[in-house]
Subunit: 425 residues, 2 copies
């Protein structure tokens, strides 16, 4: 028998409890032994929950789960990079309990030291549910692609943002309208900042980068941009260029240097990531032998996330032990950041300019001075107001693009800050 102690009994926690009880027989068969919840710890015992827990001990202090006799695995579903979650992780691993979590902030921030604590004590640290909900991207990178040299990972890791972008594109909604709709449908929180400003995606990207490159997760060095400033017009121009706009987390290793960033990007419609619509998540992993592998599915919600937590638990019951980030904690590299200037790629720029002669000449001169070559330029029909100018460039360095964009923004004829997006190919 494998004994489980769960800290936190929200949507995910009660999903785990339901799954372990609904499928008890099947899980015992697959796991090789019964899996039983011994204790739970919740903030509010009186809250109604969508699960039954007969014979389970209710404990006030989550930290007490780390020392509970009969519990082999502590499952942390409280959230937060510090405080109770971090304390519980350290206590559990130092008291002989395996540790399973859905906490992306904790793993992105303290993953390396927790991995070392787990290995020192010959325990498993698992976090399948921390990235992309029900999609088994951690197992895929840690085990299925273990023979591959992974060079780049790109993910649509936030269903809220993908829902908003899809609705802006297909229904022509403004950002605010699409956000309100997402909140009404339960795809966005009342305070949506962590999602729409890219922080949630950044945590997940740091974890994927660590797995891909055998490195310590390092969320602090990720350049983060959210989706607030996008307009339906940007998405329509992208559409005319046969692209869609997606909020991507990208981790790439080139010449031993790490590039990590989160931000909206144009994705050509011919690529599978562009096909990912609505609240779905997807991750594309490029391995030198496996080629491009894409996983797509439900990236949030109590039941998909519970599915991932339970798969971590079954792995532990089966006696599977795999280093948390694929390589031993002592071998996790500290990667140097790539100078942004190295990462050349194509760009999309949308401007609003005064409709008068010479504007395009000024813009072109600025780009020429930064050695950036224009691939296409569209200026819309003349009007008395500002008119949009949309450009795509050939490959250019991020530094040069940023300098050019700053200079263009200062032109008197440019009437609002330019919208600059990389094109991810």
């Amino acid at each position: 028998m494998l004994g489980i102690a769960i800290a936190g009994l929200g949507n995910v926690g009660s999903g785990v409890a339901r799954l372990l009880s609904n499928q008890a027989e099947l899980i015992a068969q697959r796991a090789g032994r019964p899996v039983t919840i011994k204790a739970v710890s919740v903030r509010n015992k009186k809250k109604r929950r969508d699960c039954e827990l007969p014979g389970v001990e209710w404990i006030d202090d989550p930290r007490a789960l780390a020392k509970l006799p009969g519990a082999d695995v502590v499952v942390e579903l409280m959230g937060g990079a510090e405080g109770a979650a971090r304390e519980l992780a350290e206590l559990a691993l130092n008291n002989g309990k395996h540790f399973v979590t859905a906490n992306k902030a904790l793993i992105a921030t303290h993953g390396a030291s927790l991995a070392r604590a787990a290995e020192k004590n010959k325990l498993q640290l698992s976090f399948e549910a921390a990235v992309a909900g029900g999609i088994p991207v951690i197992k895929t990178m840690r085990e299925a692609l273990a023979g591959n040299d992974v060079t780049v990972v790109r993910g649509i890791l936030n269903g809220t943002c993908n829902y908003i972008l899809t609705r802006m594109e297909l229904a022509g909604l403004s950002f605010d309208e699409a956000l309100r709709e997402a909140q009404e449908k339960g795809y966005a929180e009342a305070d949506p900042a962590a999602d729409i400003d890219g922080h949630d995606t950044a945590h997940k990207t740091a974890i994927l980068a660590a797995l891909a490159f055998g490195a310590e997760p390092d969320v602090k060095t990720i350049a983060i941009e959210g989706i607030r400033r996008l307009t339906p017009r940007d998405l329509q121009f992208a559409d005319e260029l046969s692209c869609r706009v997606r909020l991507l987390g990208v981790a790439r290793l080139a010449d031993g240097k790490l590039e990590q960033r989160v931000g909206p990007a144009l994705v050509p419609k011919s690529l599978p990531l562009a096909q990912v619509a609505g609240a779905l998540n997807a991750v594309l992993i490029r391995g030198d032998f496996a080629g491009d592998l894409m996983l797509q599915g439900l990236g949030a919600g109590g039941e998909p996330t519970a599915s991932s937590v339970v798969s971590d638990i079954i792995d532990i019951a089966r006696g599977i032990f795999v280093p948390a980030f694929g390589v031993p904690g002592s071998k996790l590299k500290k990667l140097h950041l790539a100078a942004e200037a190295h990462a050349a790629q194509r760009y999309f720029m949308r401007l609003l300019v005064a409709d008068q002669p010479g504007v395009v000449a000024d813009i072109s001169a600025i780009l020429r001075d930064e050695h950036i070559s224009i691939e296409s330029l569209i200026q819309r029909a003349r009007s008395t107001e500002s008119v949009p100018v949309v450009m795509t460039t050939h490959e250019a360095s991020a530094d040069a693009m940023k300098r050019a964009t700053a200079k263009i923004a200062r032109l008197k004829t440019v009437t609002e800050p330019p919208c600059l997006l990389p094109i991810e190919e």
Copy 2:
């Protein structure tokens, strides 16, 4: 150290050798110990191969690998459900060697007895490379979805067929033209029958069904239809109905009864499987908790397939032991087949009919008599020759559809055999 013996050194075998040697250090780190090829067995020693094997023993009889001192794992890459491959599998598992294979015919035919032999001897039987090349669908079903009740699996499992269908659709090529092009590009064999007639997909479908439902693989009961009789016109009509035609392997469990079939089907363009183009493979798995999960990638080729073989080897080096089909061999069910009449779904039917009054009335009467209701019917412009009639039906049983189609085919005004395809939603 983990010692490997490889039987068969074609594209996949030499890919495995290259990967184990190129990435020796990384793999040793991830696997926890070095992985070394001890011996290989090939039919023709003189053939030039794209890998170097210094210090490796060359052995004539593959069966001798099963008793080779120093080999912990036998990797079988010869193919075939019987003969040398089967003998080697049984010998290896009965002589204390783990057994890794890319052989779908062997696993689809003898998987259950091999799984039991492996478990009796506490050895691992692994076959990630047997289904969908570099896509980790076996691990995903066996481990990542272990907590889920899987109800249906649908796969595009043959890149040759998907390439042909994509070219027929996008370039309007005939089946023969698209096949010839696929052969020229190396996507189809000189003898393409196993691919285009669906047998390759059937082997893979049987393996996925076994994993999904904890049952013995049973390839003999799969209803198989290939893609030879499809015309570009069928694909164009599908397009007008916002669908694409894909060769699918489908395994479904309803009321404890198994439905397994392979054949072309219409897939609405809004579904992710319809977006899978060219020689790619994809598998969509529906779990009760995880929801719809899709994996997409390279389903064939030496390097992607080698990536899967090596991931099986690294799992063994890490000491991971998981029952071959997710549940113990002794618990594998023998599922009863669903009577086809139970599997109600929508259908597409394309007819060529003489352009004269009353034809549609005759067809409608036949369908009415079988209680099949027409959802849409298009009759093309009048002409002196035969004209196409395209229908879609509301949900109907397979049996009723077959009876109706047979009666329609016998109408004098119907000038060639009807094309009947299910619509997979």
